[in-house]
Symmetry: C2
Subunit: 218 residues, 2 copies
Amino acid sequence: MERVTVEKKILNENDRIAASLRDRFHEQGTLVVNCISSPGSGKTLLLERTLERLPQSMRAAVLTGDIQTDNDARRLARYGFPVQQITTAGACHLDARMIEKALANWPSPELDLLIIENVGNLVCPTSYDLGEECKIVILSVTEGEDKPLKYPGAFHRSRLMVLNKIDLLPYVPFDVAQARANAAAINPAIEIIETSALSGAGIDAWMHWLLARVRARA
Amino acid sequence: MERVTVEKKILNENDRIAASLRDRFHEQGTLVVNCISSPGSGKTLLLERTLERLPQSMRAAVLTGDIQTDNDARRLARYGFPVQQITTAGACHLDARMIEKALANWPSPELDLLIIENVGNLVCPTSYDLGEECKIVILSVTEGEDKPLKYPGAFHRSRLMVLNKIDLLPYVPFDVAQARANAAAINPAIEIIETSALSGAGIDAWMHWLLARVRARA
């Protein structure tokens, strides 16, 4: 009982901060996406492909969450956009206060696009609103088509599923149609884009999806 | 502060139950392994390969944790050993009380080998002692060789790393030597076995490792 009560208080407090972040992002016309996936789904490489294709005139930035190491931040910083690492020191997810704090440190607060790369974890990040416009779940084909059913929270709460690593489809037992059906069973409104961040397949469709939403916000 | 205090209380309570489970497993000569990995690392297929090779005379059983669905339990139940699903209903890890409760429901409590398949999550399950002899972390080569550094808890606390899906090495950018070095940097004593549950490569070495430990317990 006590645990549940404390969890509720934490989530209420998180929701309050997230709501204030969301107001701020709305006022400033910033599109914020919160990217959630298992470790090793290819999130960081997908974001590298994204940053290298963004117009340099765009005011974009990345917040990347990791339990340890700043590997991802260093990889992402090569593309000319500001990148800030949030090291969670053991915590299994980002929360709204971490985002608020990271933004307070930022020299240029007015952005067109803020990409949040959550901690690699298909479970816990799902429960924490970060003030984002939408969550995006990245599933790689090596993980199995059953994952939307086994981890429904992430798929239920995401507007888009990026089905990544499709270059590996010839080598893994993965049924794309079944994966799509499983995602739709959990979330009938979910959009799905198939990509390979490695080969570049589908990256055009993903960029089109993302940039249309940035423009809608401006 | 409040949150940390409650978490400590929960972990203390968990450790108390885990210690009593460990005593029981010792008395009964049961080897218990706690398998931890990301979603989609191939844990369940590795366990299928394991169960199909276990001597039918062995008193073995599996507890498998999932947030939703009993897919894994159904897959594992085909091999003639008792399998029990623990559906965590949202919780991101198994805890010792769940194990205690599952064992209380079991008709045949005396086992040679109990395999626990934790919830697919490389972060949270690491903190919960389940009374096991050892943790085993499964990393698939599709996840990237940096994972021991990014998720050090799981690798620090595991006796063995199973490096799975090596059949995919020709198709993914994965540096096996670097992965081994990263795991050793976090845990110099960690043992490493390379496997492909799909092709069967390395399964002999894994079975040898496991069965030697079962025999040592008997």
